[in-house]
């Protein structure tokens, strides 16, 4: 190593020193410890005892674990596609070249930065079966068909759709990312397609979608990661980690949280966290494999 290289190495290490500490204490150690605990019988009160793959085996026969996984996947199946469609729809509307786009963009984006706990408070009120605005609006419409509106968060069948509905209110981030993608599509492509006689629908499927496919992919992956870990909205809207009503909103992260911090079964909770990690990785890989041939990276 030359003198200059040595100097650079010293400086590089010095500048990165905070990260060496932060990485070791707040990431590397927790990852290693969590993996170790997942093979242990461990409550913070006693030292961990190695129990092999017992936690993972127990998970296979834990009905509550499967229920929480099922609930989470159903919720993700509702909120993820709906969120992507709404976010892209709003972005397309904002990209039509009408006046006042900045005002509309601000309005659609705003809910995404409203503190989640605070937005939960309004939605609790909107979803209220008796006095809520949603049912006030739905009641006369549904009455035509002789149906009464559901109690939303109070009804096991409707609690998950309600949560998914609320999540649509916060699609602002994804929308802004879509919009930036749409604005990068060269106008010539649309003009060329139009000259070739392509209608609006064909221009959308054959120009817009391929051109923004990297952005769609990005939002899909972020969506998968986010929805599988959803915690705050459920915890606040359903009043704790029990997944009320009737465990219909007992999501994976809620069950993991209560296992770790209420039941103090830390080893089992760590095992659950690793299964979640693997699930996220598997779904990300699957989504990548399914879309990679269709993603078009221009330039």
């Amino acid at each position: 190593m030359t003198k200059g290289e040595k100097r650079n190495l010293r400086h590089g290490l010095l500048f990165c020193l905070p990260w060496f500490i932060g990485f070791a204490v707040f990431t590397a150690y927790p990852v290693a410890a969590s993996l170790f605990y997942s093979f242990c019988d461990y409550s913070v009160l006693q030292t961990p005892v190695w129990c092999g793959a017992e936690n993972y085996r127990r998970m296979a026969t834990d009905a509550v674990f499967w229920l929480s996984l099922k609930n989470t996947l159903i919720y993700a199946g509702l909120s993820l596609p709906a969120g992507m469609v709404v976010a892209l729809g709003l972005a397309l509307l904002l990209n039509t070249g009408v006046r006042g786009v900045t005002i509309f963009r601000t309005i659609f984006y705003l809910p995404a930065i409203v503190p989640l706990v605070a937005s939960c408070m309004v939605w609790l009120w909107i979803f209220n079966g008796q006095y809520g605005l949603l049912n006030w609006a739905l009641r006369p419409v549904l009455a035509v068909f002789g149906v009464t509106p559901p109690g939303w968060l109070g009804d096991p069948a409707w609690a998950k759709p309600a949560l998914a509905l609320m999540s649509l209110w916060g699609v602002g981030n994804a929308m802004v990312i879509y919009l930036a993608g749409l604005q990068n599509v060269p106008q010539e492509l649309y003009e060329a397609a139009e000259i070739d006689g392509a209608g609006a629908a064909r221009r959308f499927w054959h120009v817009t979608v391929p051109m923004i496919s990297p952005v769609i992919y990005f939002n899909l992956i972020m969506g998968i990661i986010g929805t599988l870990q959803v915690f705050t909205t459920v915890f606040v809207l359903t009043g704790g980690a029990d997944g009320q009503p009737a465990r219909s909103t007992l999501f994976y992260a809620l069950y993991l949280f209560s296992t770790a911090f209420y039941d103090l079964r830390m080893g089992y909770a760590c095992a659950m966290a690793w299964v979640l990690f693997l699930l996220i990785v598997a779904l990300t890989v699957a989504a990548t494999k399914l879309t990679e041939k269709r993603i078009h990276y221009a330039g």
Binding site: L93, V236, F261
Partner: protein, 290 residues
């Protein structure tokens, strides 16, 4: 895809307006409910604006005074101001920590050529994949052994030691600054720290602003962290205090709850309007170049 026909524009406008009403509505409803007397909050059909006994528009600002005083419990020992103080402390120190530490680290990864830096960067990116639940239990234990459980420290101290996403964001930005500037400074005898502090940082204001803003919002909104690490009401941040207020025994009046919620939302909205450009650009770049 610009719409050219008049009909198309009309439809686009109609949709945008209708959707705007839907999106703004919950916020308007929050503010409106916060100013109503209790009997009007549960009126069916709803009253759209707060009204007095004679039917005239009459906002009840005293709801705010009541909500701020009772947010930490009916005895009024802990009030809103304690929660605001805690939140501002976590946000303020967190922002300082996040901006400083990530800038220093990103400089080491972007502007100094040393053996192992690419490997470190790869590892840094990989840590972004790890979901928080994996870290949760051991982190709790780390903070417990440091004696930090029940204090605000777990919520701001870690920000002084870097975070993968912000390191990534800043490194990408630093790399766009021409190397010649650093070289010229080096020839003039500047130390590495002087180059960082006097040349690179002043040129990087946009990315510093994005990191500061995102961290502030994240800390202001964070619920899980405070839920995990705080134990006593007087240490609660606003997010946790608001949830605690809503779930307190005996319930809480809707108008007071909405007043407390509004107070938590307003600063965020003001901040957003003051920094809108930085904001939207920041989000768009994280999606496009990330």
């Amino acid at each position: 895809m610009p719409v050219k026909t008049t009909l198309g524009r009309g439809v686009a406008y109609a949709l945008l307006l209708a959707l705007s009403v839907v999106f703004v509505f919950p916020l308007v409803w929050m503010v409106s409910t916060s100013l109503k007397p209790i009997e009007q909050t549960m009126a069916m059909p709803p009253t759209w604006v707060p009204r007095g006994a004679d039917g005239s528009l009459q906002p009840r600002w005293e709801n705010y005074r009541a909500a701020l005083a009772t947010m930490g419990g009916k005895d009024g020992r802990v009030t809103f101001w304690t929660f605001l103080g805690n939140t501002l402390l976590v946000c303020g120190l967190g922002v300082v920590g996040a901006v400083l530490s990530n800038a220093v680290i990103a400089y080491g990864l972007a502007k100094i050529r040393w053996r192992g830096r690419e490997a470190l960067f790869a590892v840094t990116l990989a840590t972004m994949m790890v979901p928080f639940p994996v870290l949760m239990v051991p982190l709790y234990e780390v903070f417990k052994s440091l004696g930090w459980i029940g204090t605000l420290k777990p919520l701001w101290v870690p920000s002084f030691f870097g975070g993968a996403f912000n390191i990534f964001l800043m490194r990408q930005f630093f790399r766009t600054i021409p190397e010649e500037l650093s070289e010229a400074a080096r020839i003039d005898g500047c130390s590495e720290w002087q180059i960082f502090w006097r040349i690179i940082l002043p040129l990087s204001k946009p990315v510093l602003a994005v990191v500061a803003l995102f961290h502030f919002l994240w800390a202001w909104n964070d619920f899980l962290g405070p839920l995990l690490f705080l134990t006593r009401t007087e240490t609660f941040t606003l997010a946790l205090a608001l949830q605690n207020y809503q779930s307190q025994a005996g319930g809480v009046q809707w108008n007071h709850l909405m007043a407390a919620s509004t107070v938590m939302v307003v600063p965020v909205i003001v901040l957003f309007f003051l920094t809108q450009k930085t904001f939207i650009k920041g989000i768009a770049t994280t999606g496009l170049k990330g």
